[in-house]
Amino acid sequence: MNLTINGVEHELSSPPLGSLLAALREEVGLTGAKAGCQQGGCGACTVLVDGEPVRACLLPLAAVDGASITTVEGLGTPEHLSPVQAAFHQEYGSQCGFCTPGMLIATHALLQRTPSPSRGEIEDALRGHVCRCTGYVKIIDAVEAAANGATAASGAGA
């Protein structure tokens, strides 16, 4: 099974019917995507597959042969946070942090296709992501902040 993960090509030997989540965590060692429920019900395993946010726990590895995967580790690093990551940090959009990687991936995808989402559009995009700590308000604030920052940046020709 061949995958590009965060820009790096990998040849994986994990079982073809094992989940992409298990392959990422156990074989590749990228533990950012979390095993919160393994039923697609919590959103903590969300990654980008060819730019689309999907539940890595619901994808058999065989279905993503040849695909390009982006995990939270591919969005940015402590030294170079992406605008979305920086916004979540600054706006306190994270408490225990377990839902955060999934939220970031979904937010990143949302802002790619809708740079200035309404609060309703943000809620729709994150509707499948469960957070038990924050009560969601600060997460949505963080997405708005990220959107405003990006809009401002692109407005300035940055």
């Binding site: 979390k34 580790e73 979540f88």
Partner: protein
């Protein structure tokens, strides 16, 4: 004071947003085995036959542990608070709740461990189960706990948490009306995003390193050491990174058994609960049944309260006696009631044992008290804000357990709410404060209430 009021970055914020925060499930150790549990499929039964031989021989299995492998199987987590031990770590001869762990297997993969669990041979003699705490005292109720159907070990051998204050019979005689209500909040599942996970690594010097998601590292270390009958310095706990706990990760529900698997197999072992296990087998906030009767006057004084609380502890006591104690101390909520008759029972049922969850013991009684005060206001035809303000805690008033309030915030809070929503209050109410009672706010029935408690 530089920090208060300042916007400080979370020290773990950058790690959270870069996916680098290391939860127990993220720790990578060479040679790690996966654990799976055999859990009771029935609510209440004796174990008639139990044979793990096929599991032990199954492909990829390195260890199977049962109650026989636990040096001290029954240990009371709150013995220091006087709550004796009643719960086995692994079931011994019987099961008392559906989901109770009976045996654990450590194997090369989750799949191999699960297959081995399914190979364990076990037969049950089912027994009648008790689910409704209101029927626990019925003559024909099944007896489901060695102590009887409710906890009998409060101080002095009491079978309930009892508070008596003032003269309840006189209060009820003097009342113009009695207002009664029954309040029954249901169980709540903590549902942390991170499932219960433990990873135990054997060290060359004979110690165990235990990666734990516990909310209480030292507490859990003590529990594990007690069950294993080993000195504390044999254990190194690594933790403090918790993917949500809310009170549900103090039970030390996974560390001890995982440690046993490590000791028996000589290999690192991880036990990661599934979401189904979290929902069906992890401890919850308890369901409660509360009956309140308030003796009230026409002009809105609450003279006395009779209250009966039944707390559903599930199959074992865990922290419930402590929770009911806290509940009893707060059973008048934000209001001063001088005559009290409270009885609280920790009732056992054949359900998953209940545990702490934010505001343990107190959220139930706050819920009930607030609803009940509103009900009193409705019955009397008095504005619910004004009824509250009249009876609100003030400096020098005492709580059910005899604590004298030094700075209760009830009055200012209610006034602020009324102001925020534009609720009109009568003149005398608008100027109320938390100051020590005097004049019309100190009627005869409240005069002696300071320091007159005989709590238990």
């Amino acid at each position: 004071m530089k920090a208060v009021g300042a916007r400080l970055p979370r020290y773990d914020g950058v790690a959270h947003v870069t996916g680098r925060t290391t939860y127990v499930d993220d720790v990578r150790v060479h040679g790690m085995l996966w654990a799976k549990a055999l859990r009771s499929p029935v609510h209440h039964a004796g174990i008639a036959r139990f044979d793990t031989a096929k599991a032990e021989a199954a492909k990829g299995v390195h260890a199977v542990v049962t109650c026989k492998d636990v040096p001290k199987n029954v240990y009371g987590h709150l013995e220091a608070l006087g709550i004796p031990a009643d719960e086995p770590l692994l079931a011994d001869g019987e099961v008392r709740w559906k989901g109770q762990p009976i045996a654990l297997v450590a194997a090369e993969s989750e799949e191999a461990a699960q297959a081995a669990v399914e190979a364990i041979e076990i037969d049950f003699d089912e027994r009648p189960a008790l689910f409704d705490i209101r029927t626990a005292g019925d003559p024909d109720a099944p007896k489901i706990h060695q102590w009887g159907n409710w906890y009998p070990h409060y101080e002095g051998g009491m079978d309930r948490r009892q508070i008596r204050k003032g003269d309840i019979e006189r209060a009820f005689d003097q009342a113009d009306t009695i207002v009664s209500g029954v309040y029954r909040p249901a169980a709540i599942e903590h549902c942390p995003l991170e499932p219960q996970t433990a990873l135990v690594v054997p060290e060359p010097d004979g110690r165990l390193t235990i990666y734990s998601c516990t909310q209480a590292l030292y507490f859990s270390m003590g529990v594990v050491a007690a069950h294993l009958e080993c000195p504390l310095n044999k254990l190194k706990f690594v933790g403090g990174t918790v993917g949500g706990g809310f009170g549900g990760k103090v039970d030390t529900a996974s560390e001890t058994v995982t440690a046993l698997l490590t000791m028996k197999s000589g290999r690192p072992v991880k036990w990661r609960w599934t979401r189904e296990e979290e929902f069906l087998c992890s401890s919850t906030r308890a369901p409660w049944h509360m009956e309140i009767s308030d003796a009230v006057t026409e002009d809105g004084w609450i003279l006395g309260r009779k209250m009966l609380t039944l707390h559903d502890a599930g199959a074992y006591a865990r922290f419930s006696p402590y929770g009911v104690t806290k509940h009893s101390f707060h059973h008048t909520g934000a209001y001063t009631i001088p005559n009290l008759h409270f009885d609280g029972y920790v009732v056992f049922t054949n359900r998953v044992p209940t545990t702490a969850m934010r505001g343990f013991g107190v959220t139930s009684v706050s819920f009930a008290t607030e609803l009940h005060v509103t009900r009193v206001a409705q019955v009397l035809g008095i504005d619910p804000f004004e009824l509250r303000l009249r009876n609100a805690n003030r400096i020098g008033d005492t709580s059910p357990n005899g604590i004298s309030y030094t700075d209760p915030s009830t009055v200012p809070t209610i006034l602020a709410i009324a102001d925020a929503i534009g609720h009109e209050l009568g003149a005398e109410y608008r100027t109320m404060s938390r100051d020590r009672r005097a004049g019309e706010l100190l009627p005869e029935h409240l005069v002696d209430q300071v320091g007159s408690t005989e709590g238990h």
